[in-house]
Symmetry: C2
Subunit: 271 residues, 2 copies
């Protein structure tokens, strides 16, 4: 159903899979709050990746039916294995590209998209395609991060440098690591109505149990994943890179803090 996968800025290594699972488990309560689908409804998860959100969707709405698509067959295989292991029977996996899906119009009652639009060259085209396969009155839920929301102490130029490297590399891959702030206008420009944004802010420090571990496993691991790309692209020299990553780790230690905001948007397809 799709062409070969586009380059994925975070890579598809085992470590990246672990990162995505950690991300979903630690953030699940925060990000999925309020996302419950009625019994019998059919939900498209567009861009399921390795299934990190899929297991939360399927577990939170056990009587809804999910169709989870991804462009990468390898990711789909991992997602399927994960969901089977969790014992959820309500997910169907399918290889498909959000920008060229072949579902009939108005197939789905709801659409869920998480950490996917950030990797898509033209998110408006993706949203218009999702609008087409959604029934009138159905909802779309979009969750994305925004690396510009990272606030941390100690604050150093090198730490900003390594974050900026990921933002630039993602832009060079056709994505947008600062897309969280754009969800409202993207949904509105695509024609969704009743658009509502809930910022989901996380605050990590040694006074908040497990929070600093999450920053290391989720955010810093993601930054570390692009080290070679950033150096090869001439965006950072190895010493500055290593200082920046060390400085990020410093924010997870005594007297440090790290704050990050995810944006969750819900919109409705007009009747």
């Amino acid at each position: 159903m799709s062409e070969s996968p586009l380059p994925y800025v975070h890579g598809r290594s085992d470590r990246e899979s672990i990162r995505l699972y950690d991300q979903a488990s630690g953030l699940g309560l925060l990000l999925h709050e309020g996302t419950l689908y009625p019994p019998g409804s059919t939900v498209l998860e567009a861009g399921c990746g390795v299934g990190a959100q899929t297991i939360l969707l399927a577990g939170n709405s056990p009587q809804a039916q999910f169709v989870s698509i991804d462009i990468s067959p390898e990711s789909l295989a991992r997602a399927q294995e994960r969901v089977l292991k969790a014992g959820y029977p309500n997910v169907t996996f399918l290889q498909a590209d959000i920008c060229s899906m072949k579902f009939p119009a108005e197939t789905f009652d709801h659409v869920f998209v998480c950490f996917t639009l950030e990797h898509i060259h033209n998110p408006l085209v993706a949203l218009e395609n999702l609008m087409t396969v959604l029934r009138p009155g159905g909802t779309i839920t979009v969750i994305e991060g925004d690396h510009g929301s990272a606030i941390f102490y100690p604050d150093t130029p090198d730490a900003h440098l390594v974050i900026d490297c990921l933002v630039i590399l993602q832009r060079q891959s056709g994505g947008n690591a600062l897309i969280g702030r754009e969800l409202e206008h993207l949904l509105e420009e695509s024609g969704f109505v009743d658009v509502y944004i809930s910022p989901k802010q996380t605050y990590a420090s040694q006074n908040v149990p497990h929070s600093s571990e999450a920053v290391k496993k989720i955010f810093i691991a993601m930054i570390e994943g692009v080290r070679e790309q950033a150096i090869a692209a001439g965006l950072a020299d190895p010493d500055a890179w290593d200082r920046g990553v060390r400085d990020l780790y410093r924010t997870t230690e005594k007297n440090g803090m790290f704050c990050y905001t995810f944006f969750k948007a819900v919109g409705v397809k007009p009747r």
Copy 2:
């Protein structure tokens, strides 16, 4: 009780007083949530300014007694007038400098500090003084912004320039407009225990009633207040400044958004 006031980066004009009142009224619910003092307790408000928080404190805890101090006699006079007009009898005003207060040790049951540490050259000295006048087991509540938390769309370099101008001017005045992220380590280094930080994030857009008006009256008005200082200091030329301010206004219009985080910290004086 104090020397002549230090320069205040935002100025003490009528427009600035209006801004501070708007700030308190619009943000009151968000920032004061959970800040209720028991009947009979004595609370020091350190740095009351023109009374924007004072009326919320006095109204929310009508049976607590407040002592509200400020370094500026003009601000105190405005605060007193405001509180009298609101009809609250439970506030005593006093001119004093946080860094050289003359209260006996352990005078107060609780201390409240809002938008004040950001203007103080050495916040650790201020916090140590506040610790001294607080009884063991009493709490300190500190609320501060952090201009590095501003996320907005459309995002432009000129908009960042004008925000950075205020950050630099405030630093030149001995303050710190990025102090929100530092509250946890400052309270811990001052010896407070059980330190807990609640980030208070605001999201403004045309889909959130009154929110864009608040961004204009509170944040953009504060930026506009340092125009002449910024240009005189050579931090921005007039054209770039005006473009930056126009770009900030653009974030309050159709399809724009503006997000800002205040940090609220509560700590306890060890018994």
